[in-house]
Amino acid sequence: MILGALKLWQRYTCLSVAMCVPRQNVHLSCAKMIKEIHESQEGNVRIFQGVNILSPREPYLVKTDDSRGCCTICSLGLDVKHTDVLILSQFLRSDGCMLPRRVTGLCRNQQKRMSKMVAMAQKAGLMPNIAPPKSKMDPKRRYKWKKYNTYFDESTIKDVRSITSGKKGASTQM
């Protein structure tokens, strides 16, 4: 198994054991509802409905202690590689687009790292099922050199040159 993913899994299991509380879907306070659009056809009328649903990710969310107060990836101390598709696919829409920072909640640096690594994983054909509907799902059917296996080096991703880097050392440290 990939290292980053393994570390996350260990973290998740040890946290849930430590708390000894089964995670539950019943909330007494306000539950986080998200919306889903349902499409249906009735005779000549096509109906689009916005339905409130509970987030399916809620029970599997990793609790982070915000000691560093940055973002989930930083405070978990995860070293994500571009082959950790189980982590990277969480930041994607169903057509493979990267979600913006206001949705992912990542810091500027990690948002850049993640979006670069998503691009790497997509070029390597590791997430063929999260793609626009018209795309060729199988990487082997791609054009010319794109059909062959490619891997990438994460150290080529540069850190964000922050405007406030002079004032705050925390963002450059990482």
Binding site: K35, Y60, V85
Partner: protein, 178 residues
């Protein structure tokens, strides 16, 4: 010479057949390791003048992986010797024509250019997929460890495995899922 010593002598100088799976491996990093087995450098009895190299069977050479944009940046040069006989072939074009050639050339190029090189290369057997002739397969007794982990595609995971994997991100309130 006792019977034990005689068998030990045979085993010391017997040729071992190694298997190497090139799936998602860099051929140029792998060549460094394969070369050691071909020349017998991993043996304590190694000497350039004793013929102690092993056989290596490389399978899935069509599934090799190159770093970044190397498929379209690496160029193979060939000259026929006639005027205007030079050709430059990109790595992916060569791989289209013969999926074993990049692996073969990588191993050939890491070895010293001496008279033994051609004979050492004869002990290397490369196959583009895992379809190996039975006659070669029955010799194999050892496997060489791969250099880098083979990545798993997202659609190869079971759906519940993806769904139950720990999540680092949840959608904000009133987010419209799509």
């Amino acid at each position: 010479m006792t019977a034990y010593k005689r068998v030990q002598q045979w085993n010391t100088f017997a040729r071992v057949w190694h298997l190497y799976d090139a799936t998602w491996q860099n051929p140029f990093e792998s060549a460094q390791r394969i070369m050691k087995y071909l020349k017998g450098l991993h043996k304590p009895i190694y000497h350039p003048l004793n013929d102690c190299g092993d056989h290596v069977v490389v399978i899935n050479s069509g599934e090799i992986a190159l770093l970044g944009d190397e498929w379209r940046k690496r160029v193979y040069f060939h000259h026929t010797g006639y005027p205007g006989g030079a050709t430059w072939t990109l790595a992916w074009e060569l791989h289209d024509k013969d999926p074993t050639m990049i692996m073969k050339k990588a191993v050939y190029n890491v070895m010293d250019g001496n008279l033994q090189r051609r004979y050492t290369m004869q002990r290397l057997h490369i196959y583009p997929d895992d379809d190996v002739p039975e006659k070669i397969k029955q010799n194999i007794t050892n496997q060489i460890r791969q250099l880098r982990p083979v990545p798993k595609r997202l659609d190869r995971y079971a759906p519940e495995e993806v769904q139950r994997f720990p999540k680092v991100m949840d959608w904000p309130k009133n987010y419209i899922l799509r």
